[in-house]
């Protein structure tokens, strides 16, 4: 059990590409932490640098109060699950799980016992004699997990743990992983490009872009108060409405309509300044009748989301989206009004969140 700390961690590739730009991060002991971001943002590089598979050009990695920046990957007391699980195809499940113990020179009987114990815990007891090639994707994942559990390392690193599973299995695996991590209580860092996955599983997360960390916070924080327009646009299954607006006293002129200044930005705006107004479709209350302080326009698209609908309104020259509960969906061409919740709307100045 150990906390992980990164200080001014930098990685520059030969040729000048800056994969990690002076990152600072503190992950307390036992936390399930996500590194989230689009491809190329540096999240996998960061994970591999923590593991030691990439050498840092500057800064340091501290695991459990021990500076491991100069330590070999095998000496950091961590365990890693790769995206393709890397189960050795020529060894059976028992030997795969027992492999880290074999390196640690644990006796054959002892390590087989441990492998069986861990395997049983993850429901693998019928599969211990099989080769990885004979296992399904979900079973392979559990073997990979069993292998890292057998190491009893201080911290676990997972590289895109769910991306090799098919869609249905992925949802089950999400719940399974979260439950397992809670039971084990081991500090776990995982990388994902899927924001829904990060929101569902992580205790806290870091949203990354181009080698920088754009925001660190709990899923609720990152969802409700994204610190900048990048995070605002990246998080959320339905994209946040980000609209240009001008300040007029205690209202904002957005797309030709007047909306009240959100609670979070009260008293922090200057008259006449141009800002970006952000509100999630989920936080827009839809009405067919005109409402004060709403964005009104014509309904152009209605998308069925299952238990709700995503309504797209043409307001002036921009499109505004709102989520409407079952039974309230309008028809195309009708007039509609989306009233943003004052306590959930946000204002961005030069890309950064305006807040106290």
């Amino acid at each position: 059990m150990a906390a992980i700390e990164l200080r001014a961690l930098t990685k520059v590739y030969p040729g000048g590409v800056k994969a990690l730009d002076s990152l600072d991060l503190a992950i307390p002991d036992g936390e399930f932490f996500a590194l989230l971001g689009p491809s190329g943002c540096g999240k996998t590089t960061l994970l591999r640098t923590i593991a030691g598979l990439e050498t840092a050009t500057g800064g340091s990695v501290v695991i459990g109060e021990r500076d491991v920046t100069g330590v070999q990957p095998g000496g950091r007391d961590i365990a890693m699950v790769f995206q393709d699980y890397a189960l050795f195809p020529h060894m059976d499940v028992t030997d795969n799980i027992a492999y880290p113990l074999r390196i640690k020179k644990v006796g054959k009987a002892a390590r087989q016992r441990k492998a069986e114990e861990v395997g049983a815990r993850l429901g693998l007891d019928q599969l211990m004699d099989r080769r990885p090639g004979q296992l399904s994707g979900g079973q392979q994942q559990r073997v990979a997990l069993a292998r890292v559990m057998a190491t009893q390392a201080q911290a676990f690193l997972f590289d895109e743990p769910l991306s090799n599973l098919d869609a249905r299995l992925r949802l089950e695996a999400r719940t399974f992983l979260k439950k397992l991590q809670r039971e084990l209580g081991v500090t776990t860092v995982f990388v994902t490009h899927d924001q829904a996955e990060a929101l569902a599983m992580a205790d806290r997360m870091a949203v990354m872009e181009a080698g920088h960390i754009r925001q660190i916070g709990t899923p609720a924080e990152v969802f409700q108060r994204p610190a900048n327009t990048f995070v605002a646009g990246f998080i959320g299954s339905t994209p946040m409405n980000l609209l240009h607006g001008t300040v007029h006293g205690d209202t904002l002129e957005v797309a030709g309509c007047k909306v009240p200044v959100p609670v979070s930005a009260e008293g922090l705006l200057t008259d006449g300044e141009r800002v970006v107004y952000g509100v999630r479709p989920e936080y827009n209350t839809y009405s067919a009748e005109p409402v004060e302080g709403s964005l009104g326009g014509k309904v152009v698209i209605v998308e069925n989301l299952g238990a709700s609908h995503l309504v797209t309104l043409e307001v002036g020259e921009v499109l505004v989206q709102a989520v409407v509960p079952e039974g309230g969906e309008p028809s195309i061409g009708a007039d509609g009004f989306a009233a943003p919740r004052r306590d959930r709307a946000l204002v961005y100045r030069d890309g950064e969140l305006v807040s106290a």
């Binding site: 050498t55 500057g58 330590v71």
Partner: protein, 308 residues
């Protein structure tokens, strides 16, 4: 190894390159040790001889006699001797005939024809034809050489039995033609497989469009297939020309005879250097062979690279 550093200390941020970042952590030193034995063997038995042949060509080295003990530097004498020796030019001309006839024309045309006839087929016929062609290629050279000696025998050969022309001895009367046909037979497999793969990569939709437009088989070949496989034809030609140019197998059929009528350069070098014991002169001819190889190989590699 464990440093009990207080978390509040400022950590030196110079890159701590205390371990290597290749997949297994081999590091440059160990990697060098891994590569060393192979490179050593290649250096001694491949590179060194190639360089030495350049030196040898400039001496009058022989295996026996004074020139063996004290070879003298003779400059370009050997090369001059080669250029003015009619036997050398005879061999060169014969080699040109051999390469043109059996590789450039023979193997390419035969290999392509078989690949074209067998395209889109999968049955036992294809397997039989391909199997036989490949058999001709993989059987050891000493065996196939004798099979053809037997085939072409004047009195008892199978060819004789089929044609019933008494006294007809192809190996004596038409030796070059014989070895050309032999080598075409021997090497067609490589071209067949290469063109087979190339033809498989021609999009069927192109061929079908042509067919629907009324193109005959020959027209489809000309307008759709050849443009697609042009690049492969060139690389194929270069490779088999290189191999045929260096092929020593004709020796096993005719030993360069009768009267040097099939003494291609490979056989010529052997006769002059090993049998005639003139290693210096033989080295000069070998140098010529090396240079020609070099030109063809560089050309081939350039083509490969430009395709990537």
């Amino acid at each position: 190894m464990a440093q009990a550093t207080s978390p509040l200390e400022v950590i030196d941020d110079a890159p701590a390159r205390r371990f290597s970042s290749d997949a297994a952590g081999l590091g440059r030193l160990r990697a060098g040790a891994f590569v060393a034995p192979a490179l050593a063997l290649i250096a001694v038995f491949l590179v060194f001889p190639a360089l030495w042949v350049l030196y040898l060509g400039l001496t009058n080295y022989r295996l026996t006699g004074t020139a063996a003990v004290e070879p003298q530097f003779v400059g370009l004498d050997n090369f001059v001797k080669a250029v003015s020796d009619p036997a050398f030019w005879n061999s060169t001309w014969l080699t040109v005939q051999f390469v043109l006839g059996s590789a450039v024309i023979g193997q390419v045309v035969l290999g392509f024809t078989i690949a074209w006839l067998m395209r889109d087929r999968t049955g036992p016929l294809k397997r039989t034809v391909e199997g036989l062609v490949i058999l001709a290629w993989i059987l050891p050279s000493a065996v196939v050489s004798f099979l053809w000696v037997a085939l072409l025998d004047r009195d008892g050969g199978t060819l004789q039995a089929l044609l019933h022309v008494p006294g007809f001895a192809p190996l004596l009367d038409h030796p070059m033609l014989s070895i050309v046909i032999f080598n075409t037979w021997r090497g067609a497999a490589f071209s067949m497989m290469l063109y087979g793969a190339a033809l498989g990569n021609v999009p069927p939709s192109h061929l079908e469009s042509a067919r629907l437009a009324g193109a005959s088989g020959w027209q489809q070949l000309r307008d759709v297939v050849f443009p697609h496989i042009r690049g492969h034809i060139l690389t194929n030609l270069l490779l088999i020309s290189l191999w045929t140019f260096n092929d020593f197998t004709p020796f096993m059929l005719t030993a360069g005879g009768p009267d040097g009528k099939t003494e291609v350069l490979a056989v010529h070098v052997y006769k002059v250097a090993m049998l005639g014991q003139e290693l210096g002169y033989g080295a000069a001819v070998s140098t010529v062979i090396l240079l020609i190889n070099l030109v063809v190989a560089v050309f081939y590699l350039r083509l490969l690279r430009s395709k990537k």
